[in-house]
Symmetry: C2
Subunit: 543 residues, 2 copies
């Protein structure tokens, strides 16, 4: 028997309608690309999104069509999010830091009918114009008519002129809540980027979970600054979650350096923010140099890569802000875990508190996790055993866009994250490695990340990568490849001795190679595939 409850689909358009109705005057402030602040309220944003919805119709974009964006975190990008998904089209956010070949590939693979691009990206777009000529019908530049740039290959439309020419009256259509709302490609270190096709339902549920006190904790009294880009996993869902909460938004545009981020925080009264560690390194460095503060900011969500212990400590001790270590993936809309304490942690001392805060957090309701060993069996949740981290939930992808098969999806309904992790009895998860990077020595696993973290803790080491090298007896053994501080003198033996007492003896790298620099991906991650290839014939010293 079905319950007698209204059958209303969960649609992204409901978010902007809700905020316009009940938080119409609450501000969305943008640090414009060209400088200066733009500010308006949710009611204005709704009106602009509705104008754009009418404009999209004129451009021939309809239900199920895909629209690409190459854009910063601005109010225009925010309007595009709501207008495109609102009409049942798909908002495809593109990472401008990808290689040109990848950009062309995903525009074509996604069938982007219209592209919305920042003026500054027009030259980039020109560089692969020929490759996407058959796919893209129109290019809209996120600027006013006066500042419309030149293009060698495209007729460009001014966003402001396009929007202003249309009416703000528009009734959002209603449709199946499982309809695709947005699209984001994730680039691995091998193969073509893979598209994650989000749904309205998934995003609404993710937003409900996000604003909860043990997740991002967003209320209508907050000012939320997503520094994490709107082209990366929907800025961790914040443009949806903040709208659901009716929170003020502060959008930094492309101005992500310490000085600009600090000014936006204190100028707009930012209370909650989210970004990767790199952003916070820049901010903390600027704060130290300038002697400035970040009041009233208290809630700093950090993810994307492991948060250094010292960063958690500095935010707390020097600036009164609490770091919430979070973990997710593009395939997870993206949140999986957030690190907030339990009641039993109330009286932890500083050291124990940092030990806890360094973990990636515990699942929020809606996501379930398990770790499995090489035989596919589930491993103990004891904080020690580590294995492949697998997840499932209301906002987890079950396939990749236009890709028939995925080896990341198990037969029993789980997504294999490619991370290696431990889980403890309360579900706190700690990532120890990437599956493809873990070093398998004599049937046991060695965490490459742990080896790298110890190496970079050495005062004379700038960066390090630990990779596996074939070994006749142990199958694989760790090799450390390190970059020394400029001018520093450091011998292999000194660095190897540095591991003594910090890990099990048999984890210690068999050898060290010093190099001038390490290879990285377009998004700044260590390119270990290249290192493994470069060193595949390396002969380890015999013990």
């Amino acid at each position: 028997m079905l319950g007698l409850i209204m059958d209303r689909p969960m649609l992204i358009s409901s978010l902007i309608d809700f905020a316009a109705e009940y938080h119409g005057g609450t501000e969305i402030v943008t640090h414009n690309v060209e400088g200066g602040l733009h500010r308006y309220g949710y009611a204005d944003a709704q009106a602009e999104a509705k104008r754009l919805a009418n404009a999209l119709g004129e451009l021939g974009v309809g239900f199920g069509d895909t629209v690409g964006t190459l854009a910063w975190n601005t109010r225009r990008h925010f309007e595009i999010y709501y207008a495109v998904s609102g009409i049942g089209a798909i908002c495809h956010t593109i990472n401008p830091r990808l290689y040109v070949e990848q950009l062309a590939y995903i525009v074509n693979h996604a069938s982007d009918r219209v592209l919305f691009v920042e003026a500054g990206f027009v030259p980039l777009l020109d560089s692969f114009a020929a490759e996407i000529a058959d796919t893209v019908r129109a290019i809209v530049v996120l600027c006013d008519e006066a500042n419309l740039p030149e293009s060698e290959h495209f007729d460009l439309i001014s966003y402001d002129a396009l929007v202003a020419a249309h009416d703000p009256v528009f009734d959002w259509p209603s449709f199946d809540e499982r309809t695709a709302s947005s699209l984001c490609y994730t680039s691995g270190t091998t193969g073509n980027p893979k598209g994650v096709l989000y749904s309205h339902r998934g995003n609404i549920l993710h937003s409900y979970a996000s604003i909860g006190p043990d997740c991002m904790n967003i209320s209508a009294r907050d000012t939320v600054m997503p520094v994490v880009p709107m082209f990366h996993a929907n800025a961790w869902g914040i443009p949806y979650a903040a709208t659901m909460a009716g929170a003020k938004l502060a959008l930094p545009g492309p101005h992500l350096d310490g000085e600009n981020v600090q000014a936006l925080i204190t100028g707009e009264g930012v209370t909650m923010t989210a970004a990767v560690p790199t952003i916070w390194l820049m901010l903390l460095d600027y704060l130290k140099r300038s002697g400035k503060n970040i009041r009233p900011l208290t809630n700093v969500v950090i993810g994307g890569s492991a948060v250094p212990r010292s960063m958690i400590e500095t935010f707390k001790r020097d600036y009164g802000a609490t770091v919430r270590h979070a973990w997710g993936m593009t395939e997870m809309s993206p949140l999986g875990t957030v690190n907030t304490p339990l009641a039993k942690h109330e009286n932890l001392d500083d050291g124990a508190w940092l030990d806890l805060a360094e973990k990636q957090g515990r699942p929020i309701f809606g996501v379930d996790m398990r770790i499995v060993g090489e035989d596919g069996g589930e491993l103990a949740r004891d904080g020690v055993a580590f294995g492949d981290l697998q997840v499932r939930g209301y906002w987890v992808a079950n396939a990749y866009h236009r890709q028939d098969e995925s080896d990341a999806h198990t037969g029993d309904g789980w997504f294999s994250t490619g991370d290696v992790a431990t889980l403890d009895g309360d579900g706190y998860m700690r990532i120890t490695d990437r599956t493809k990077d873990v070093i398998k020595s004599g049937g046991e696993w060695i965490s490459s990340i742990d080896l790298e973290n110890i190496a970079v803790d050495h005062p004379k080491v700038v960066e390090a990568a630990a990779i596996s090298v074939a070994h006749p007896h142990w199958d694989e053994r760790p090799l450390l490849i390190a970059v020394r501080e400029e001018g520093a003198e450091l011998e292999k033996s000194e660095l190897l001795d540095w591991y003594e007492g910090k890990i099990a003896r048999w984890w210690k790298p068999d050898d060290v190679v010093f190099v001038d620099e390490l290879p990285h991906t377009a998004t700044g991650k260590l390119l270990k595939t290249k290192l493994r290839d470069d060193f595949k014939d390396y002969i380890l010293p015999t013990a």
Copy 2:
């Protein structure tokens, strides 16, 4: 095009599984009916619920069947919630304070196959045994074998013995998330009670919304004490929401007096609680007499009827606890609005803050509201215009159980609450009356509640009811029926003068009748239908 997101149904069984996995040791503490505290963790509760699920199968209860409960807020009732809904059966919570005829009616109307009843309610059950003999197959008493009471009419089963005899291994079935999960009857002042049939989907969405910072604000660090009964609109959804958050639960059983409530708060470290004003009057009275405190309680959600200003003030000033005024209905799972401030309210002085806090709050995402005039047109959201309050949303009933027609549901998909309210520009809602109680004088509406509130503010008035009486010129005019303080001397004219300056002149009652007591419903509400009937031929004095 559909998004590529896992299609996992939202089921109530997922809540207890989540809490058992990630908050297994977090306690559920019950103040037992017979006295003393029972404590165990979510993992234990899950095991007991699974034993009960197996037992339900043996009792012949399957998918779609209905099970009734006549029970207090205890861990056994909590287990029944999860076991019954978990197997896809319907958990029908029955209000033991209803009249016997109503109890018999709803047990039969709901087709309750099994009843779970407190030992103390067995005599009540015996009193209508004959009426339900054809419907009910088994009676399970919430006690152990040794304390099983006698019944004149039924063979009784001990809950503890039943559960202990079954295995804790059980795989919850998966099914359509719109499946009916639970059932609660709402008793109006006329006609038979009407059943609201909740769904799994509605309850999960309601829980997500409930734990948000602007709603009930429940985290894993909270200890939550629902004093509002689990037989009344699922204790405002708290048994689901607290489980989703992994919060500790403190269940008061039948011990709702000030002394016991205070002891549970300080003894178990309650941080968040919810109940109707009557409960808090008893508690505040006890605190004043005893000099005791309610630390660490800070978050007091109050609904069910309007919260007196002095109660909000006393909680804040004397006990450091913030009242969240809330409003909902059985038909709304039940939450509609919660009163939390916006950023712009940060610097309100005490008077303005109380003016705001007295309102019933603003909608949470998932609920939409409008006020409608007599012509069906939507009224202004200006905080002044008042009309029929209508709602719609993810957890609002679209019909009543086994009732073909409902005049509370509009043709365009809204539920007419029967409340008269104002909405302001931010959506803060203030209830001014019940639709059937409002006094229609010369085409304008007079709020009976406002007239009553002013009357009871008079030091010599204990209780008052304002009702409409037919008037040849104005259609209706207000008559006040009041109960004086014992032994107090108070004339009509003095009470009528009391209205001067407090409301518009034409709102002032045309007359006052003093009585010894006012009639009430089984649930304690003023029975105005009887008053209107008693006074239908009352002749108002000519002006």
